[in-house]
């Protein structure tokens, strides 16, 4: 049905090649293009914003300082003093995902966080890092993480598999959450926009009036998507902090 009328809500997630013939030769996709753009935006934002170093910050410097302090407080509150050495990692992750989500909201732009290959790679990196940090801080004693304290010995054969499964589920919940939120939002946009086209082509003048309803929904959805774009970057960053906290402090 959707295919017949020319509305393909998943077409927007298709990978094409960017950068013309050169991009085609090295398989540089539109997703890579957006990732590069996000990295360039984050870097240049901070280079430009912090060039002045004014005592009373201007707009750009204020933006940079607010985002710095936001992540800095998050890292300190969640991980503690030791968290300072992970601040660059968490900040890079947060800024990259946030800019990626927001870029994806613009028409004709590609939301690279809507591909599980990207979110999965980020989540696996966080998972591997937090596991390595755990072994780095506690040595082989990190395995005690899987036996909760104050539990009678006869329950351990049951609890240890539960804790291991719960630990292994972290990268999956981390990646699926981000990917599903971004994908769902974009699909809903396209579906409601498709409703408008169907109403106008099917009902004529009445359809034009009726199409105001999906238009209004899409406008409301736009506001929600901006919230989701920020929130998912925040959730990804704070869960990274929580996992690092678990690795450093064990429970």
């Amino acid at each position: 049905m959707a295919q017949e009328s020319g509305i393909n809500a998943l077409g927007q997630f298709q990978l094409t090649t960017g950068f013309g013939a050169f991009g085609k030769a090295i398989e540089f996709t539109n997703s890579n293009e957006m990732m590069l753009l996000a990295a360039v935006i984050v870097t240049s934002l901070f280079v430009v914003a912090l060039r002045q170093r004014a005592l009373v910050p201007g707009r750009m410097q204020g933006l940079a300082e607010i985002s710095y302090e936001f992540v800095h407080n998050m890292v300190l509150d969640t991980i503690g003093e030791e968290g300072k050495r992970f601040f660059p990692f968490v900040f890079t992750l947060f800024a990259f995902i946030l800019i990626g989500n927001i870029l994806g909201l613009f028409p004709y732009f590609f939301a690279f966080t809507s591909h599980i290959a990207i979110t999965g790679a980020l989540a696996l990196f966080v998972f591997a890092l937090s596991t390595l940090v755990g072994f780095w801080y506690h040595g082989i004693g990190f395995l005690k993480f899987f036996s909760p304290p104050g539990v009678p010995g006869w329950l351990l054969p049951l609890l240890i598999p539960i804790e291991i499964v719960s630990f292994l589920s972290r990268p999956i919940s981390l990646s699926v959450r981000l990917f599903a939120n971004i994908t769902a939002g974009h699909v809903m946009w396209e579906v409601f926009a498709g409703f408008m086209l169907m109403l106008v082509s099917g009902l004529g003048a009445v359809g034009v009036v009726a199409a105001i309803i999906p238009l209004g929904l899409n406008i409301a959805l736009t506001a929600l998507e901006f919230l989701v774009a920020f929130l998912q970057a925040y959730v990804f960053a704070i869960l990274t902090c929580l996992y690092l906290h678990d690795a450093i402090h064990m429970h």
Binding site: S166, S169, S173, V176, R177, L231
Partner: protein, 105 residues
């Protein structure tokens, strides 16, 4: 640049005073205290999107482990049967760890 620190502290305390005066004039200080209080609890919307994925993810992991072990030992469906309740329990454990009492949030 070199002589700025010499007159810096003077400038800065003057600036702090003027900032404090301007803030109290604009009535900014009271909302600042309130929003700091609001920051304590996590955003309910972010909590809601967290918990759904937590439960499903551990079930997925448990089914994958059960399926893999069954293929390895040709024992279908026994490992799967054993691991699905473990996965469900781990999902509840995840939710409890995120929301339950005794933790920082």
């Amino acid at each position: 640049m070199g002589d700025e620190p010499a007159q810096g502290p003077d400038d800065r305390s003057d600036f702090d005073q003027r900032l404090a005066a301007a803030r109290s004039r604009a009535g900014l200080d009271k909302p600042a205290g309130k929003s700091a209080e609001q920051d304590k609890g996590p955003n309910p919307f972010s909590v809601a999107t967290r918990l759904g994925a937590e439960m499903v993810a551990s079930l997925v992991v448990a089914v994958a482990i059960g399926y893999g072990l069954d293929r390895l030992f040709h024992s279908a469906p026994w490992f799967m049967i054993g691991f699905v309740p473990i996965g469900a329990a781990a999902g509840l454990r995840n939710v409890f760890r995120a929301m339950g009492p005794g933790d920082k949030d």
